[in-house]
């Protein structure tokens, strides 16, 4: 339950950062690293179970109680079609705001805060539509590929019949 607020200590840094840079929270799923823009992240919490929601796709892990409001949890691994995560206490839920809604994304671990240059964002190579749908772009950090998650796409299509 160690909720860690990132917003405050980040605001100074982002003020320093030039307009053309982007700060990301990087997290890992298996060997792969993904990132979301830091300003969308509300808090990061340890996995503590969720109440399953019936009649939803497998990547909807259920709902949790976030200080009195009900927040849905999406399993990013399952969203990418790699099967459901078997979460432990070490798994992490990143709570983010998508539009006017708050959602949680279940990931293996949060690894880093990255500052990247907007010019360095590459397009997602055409090919599999899942890639282009779920990723906004790709950046390279420390010679590792970081996929930029399109949150709107991730949380859509949660119901059984789409």
């Amino acid at each position: 339950m160690e909720a860690l607020s990132l917003r405050d200590d980040v605001s100074d840094k982002s003020a320093l950062a030039a307009q053309n840079t982007l700060q990301l929270i990087a997290f890992s799923i298996g060997e792969q690293t993904y990132g979301v823009e830091i300003t969308t992240v509300r808090e990061i919490r340890a996995w503590n179970g969720a109440t399953p929601l019936p009649n939803t796709r497998e990547f909807v892990r259920g709902v949790i109680n976030l200080r009195g409001t009900i927040v849905p949890i999406f399993d990013l691994r399952a969203r990418f079609g790699d099967g459901q995560t078997s979460p432990t206490k070490n798994h992490v839920v990143v709570v983010m705001s998508v539009g006017d809604k708050w959602v949680g994304i279940l990931v293996d671990a949060v690894s880093d805060i990255l500052t990247v240059n907007r010019d360095d964002i590459h397009n997602v190579p055409e090919g599999n539509s899942i890639d282009t749908e779920l990723l906004n772009g790709i950046v390279t950090h420390d010679s590792r590929m970081v996929g930029l998650i399109d949150l709107h796409a991730v949380v859509s299509g949660a119901k059984m019949d789409g």
């Binding site: 109440t51 399953p52 009649n55 409001t69 009900i70 849905p72 809604k101 708050w102 059984m160």
Partner: protein, 777 residues
């Protein structure tokens, strides 16, 4: 500007209340009850709307309301008879006033001649009756030139008025008409209550001045010697001479309408009473010198009495200094007020007529003054004394409601923590918890009562709708309302307006037949729509019933098949067909509505009602009518539930829908051809829904005993929910799933349990509907 906006918002709030009242009053008047009380209430409402409209410069509204008001005044006087035609005209006029108010609120412009026809009819009515009267000229003038003779004073806050007429300021001479000379003498004696209600005589004078050429004299003869001087008492009165051709007493009285009861007013046509100035002088004789000696300020004031005050603005200026702020003055001495009423001019005039010496005014006035505080309530006998209310921002109430909701949950969590051993050991604690539970319940009920409102506020909008629909469809329709004082949570009420409108429109449009057809089928020419509200346990039932032709099931089924809502090889029961009108997509099926089926906007009804946790059920009898029942929760905030377990997950079932719980073996579930299962409960076969299966959860399949929760849904249809365990009963606060997610089939929402985990609320009605759907598909 924001101040003005606040005032405007309040004004529109009041308008909607007043319009509601108008509807109510006319509902009774229409029935044939035509007491003076009713008419007075109507008159007051229209007058208040007009007054506010004038203040904000809504000239179109003022114009119409004034013409209407004049007619009402004539009706009140008996000069115009309140025939059925007039009632119908008045009801139409109410609608027009409502439209004007809406237009003013939204800033939209109505056609310039909107309501002109009705206005002309007011005119004709008034003229027709008053033609032979003595003051025919006066009345004629009033009706024709209401825009001139009524010029409400606009509120001007920091010169921020943008639209409307220019504020009427300091217009003390205006004599626009030329006809028979009319000179009126007015004696205006304000009581203390008038100032206590923050009325300003200046405003009254301005309004009077707008009626004609006016001269005002202050009468300070009542001012006592300083030794008897009461700082908060009212000693000042005025004599006004108003010269205007064709001016009627009614229009003068109208100026004083708002201060009626808080002052004495005598209006007389010149020459009919002895000179008022003389009387004033008589009265002032005794006490005046003493005051003049003692107090320089007062003596300067008194000087005004000696010379006639040519310019009436001057006495008004010192008046502001002379009349103290409405005091938080002495209250009590109520009796003495009755014993010694403020000396009224009427009494005076009677005394003086036979040339008797005037009674010394000093003692009664001095006594009366302190009593005015207590006297107010008596003075305002006609006003709303009974209902004392405050306006509170709904957000503030909601915050309290939410907190009470959380409190209820915490309390029930605490109670749950007490197991048997703890109970035995800490009896004091147990007792404390019991008291806490009681108090919490009480608190919750009280808070809910704050939010509860009679459904009247929604029901009262419906008569107008029915009238309009009847006109549009050339049908004769009567609306009956029952149980309009039933109270429901405000949020529910707000959500009720749209569905009810749709349902009534549907009944009027498709249910009620045209008069010829009704006669042909042996019914009365006039169709009836009955709108009723009643409380049934934890629910409110709102029923819309009509005695029309019923649902054309063949047609509905046909369209449903065409639209693919129902598969071609499925034969739904009559009841299932009836429910089809709520199917999404049916609303757009204009084929149905044009021919005879039902379905205009009915999915809106369903979705709106579902949103607030309610359900809709429709039942139809061919040729006899249709009944639609809305079942609504009494409150939205807290729900009594039964906590059950399905698989590893906690679910809650609203207690209001549970009939009983039981245990039975799986073997007792019988198969039916569709593949579904039924359970026999005391001779009745009930559909079985296995929640584990339905929700795709792994459950421990027990061949032996299974927990079954028997629920009742709309139309007394029962359904048996199979669960893995029944944990207990508790109260929960409903949390929205849609806030951060979306609607989930079979789930009405979520809630947070005492341990912090989320439990889902089972949507029993929804489950049954989709169950039917699945089996039908």
């Amino acid at each position: 500007m924001s101040d003005l906006d606040d005032f405007k918002a309040t004004y529109f709030d009041e308008c909607s209340e007043l319009l509601t009242e108008l509807e109510e009053q006319f509902a009774v008047i229409e029935e044939g009850e035509r007491g003076a009380d009713r008419l007075n209430a109507v008159f007051r409402a229209i007058h208040s709307i007009k007054g506010g409209a004038g203040a904000f410069g809504f000239s179109a509204l003022v114009g119409f309301a004034h013409a209407y008001e004049t007619l009402l005044d004539y009706v009140r006087d008996g000069r115009v008879e309140l025939t059925d035609d007039v009632v119908v005209l008045c009801i139409r006029a109410n609608d027009i006033v409502a439209d004007h108010v809406n237009a003013a609120q939204s800033g939209e412009a109505l056609p310039v001649d909107y309501g002109a026809e009705e206005k002309a009819r007011f005119d004709a009515l008034a003229r027709g009756e008053t033609g032979g009267d003595d003051d025919a000229d006066a009345d004629g003038e009033m009706m024709d030139d209401f825009d001139i003779d009524f010029t409400p004073v606009m509120v001007n806050l920091g010169g921020s008025m943008a639209e409307g007429e220019a504020p009427v300021e300091d217009v003390f001479e205006s004599a626009p008409m030329a006809a028979a000379e009319g000179q009126w003498e007015i004696r205006f004696t304000p009581h203390r209550a008038l100032y206590a209600r923050a009325n300003d005589p200046l405003l009254l004078f301005r309004e009077l001045a707008a009626l004609g050429t006016m001269s005002v004299r202050a009468v300070l003869g009542d001012v006592p010697p300083l030794s008897d001087f009461e700082p908060f008492a009212v000693y000042c009165s005025w004599e006004i001479t108003l010269v205007s051709p064709g001016l009627s007493e009614v229009s003068i009285r109208e100026v004083f309408e708002f201060v009626d009861g808080d002052c004495d007013i005598i209006i007389a046509q010149a020459g009919m009473v002895p000179s008022l100035a003389d009387i004033g002088f008589d009265i002032s004789e005794a006490p005046a010198p003493a005051v003049a000696d003692a107090e320089p300020d007062l003596s300067s004031l008194l000087a005004l009495t000696e010379e006639e005050v040519a310019n009436p603005q001057e006495p008004v200026a010192p008046l502001a200094d002379f009349i103290p702020e409405p005091p938080a003055g002495p209250v009590g001495a109520q009796d003495s007020f009755e014993e010694a009423p403020v000396l009224s001019f009427a009494a005076l005039a009677e005394e003086i007529m036979p040339a008797a010496p005037p009674p010394a005014p000093k003692p009664p006035v001095a006594k009366a003054a302190p009593a005015a505080g207590g006297g107010e309530s008596e003075e305002g006998g006609g006003r709303s004394v009974g209902v004392q209310s405050i306006r509170v921002d709904l957000d503030k109430v909601d915050r309290v409601v939410n907190m009470v909701g959380e409190l209820v949950i915490t309390q029930s969590m605490l109670t749950q923590q007490m197991d048997e051993t703890l109970r035995a050991r800490y009896t004091e604690l147990v007792r404390g918890l019991e008291v806490l539970a009681q108090t919490t319940r009480g608190l919750q009920d009280s808070v809910m009562a704050i939010r509860a409102q009679p459904v009247k506020s929604v029901f009262s909008r419906m008569p107008r709708l029915v009238r309009e629909l009847a006109t549009k469809t050339s049908k004769k329709i009567k609306l009956e309302t029952i149980g309009e004082n039933t109270e429901i949570d405000k949020t529910v009420i707000e959500q009720l307006s749209d569905p009810l409108t749709h349902m009534i429109r549907n009944s009027a449009d498709h249910g009620i037949e045209i008069p010829e057809k009704r006669l042909a089928s042996g019914k009365s020419e006039t169709g009836t729509i009955r709108l009723s509200a009643e409380q049934a346990g934890g629910n409110i039932l709102i029923i819309v019933e009509d005695d029309g032709g019923g649902i054309n099931r063949e047609r509905v089924l046909q369209v449903a098949r065409d639209k693919g809502v129902v598969a071609p090889d499925v034969n739904p029961t009559d009841e299932q067909i009836d429910q089809l009108i709520f199917a999404p997509g049916f609303s757009t099926a204009s084929e149905v509505s044009d021919i005879s089926g039902r379905g205009v906007g009915m999915d809106v009804v369903l979705s709106n009602i579902k949103k607030i946790g309610g359900s809709v059920h429709v039942r139809s009898w061919t040729g006899k009518g249709t009944r639609m029942t809305l079942r609504l929760p009494l409150t939205l905030a807290v729900l009594d539930v039964m906590l059950v377990k399905v698989g590893d997950s906690p679910y809650v079932v609203p207690l209001s829908s549970i009939v009983e719980t039981m245990q039975c073996s799986r073997a007792s579930f019988e198969r039916v051809p569709s593949g579904g299962r039924v359970l026999q409960v005391r001779g009745e076969y009930v559909q079985v829904i296995d929640l584990g299966q339905r929700f795709g959860l792994a459950t421990q399949v027990q061949e032996t005993d299974q927990f079954v929760v028997l629920c009742e849904t709309e139309g007394s249809q029962k359904v048996a929910l199979v669960v893995d365990d029944i944990i207990g009963q508790q109260q929960v606060v409903i949390k929205s799933l849609e806030e951060n997610f979306e609607r989930v089939e079979g789930i009405a929402g979520g809630t947070i349990l005492g341990d912090g985990n989320v439990a889902l609320i089972v949507d029993v009605q929804g489950l049954r509907t989709t169950h039917l759907h699945q089996n039908a598909a």
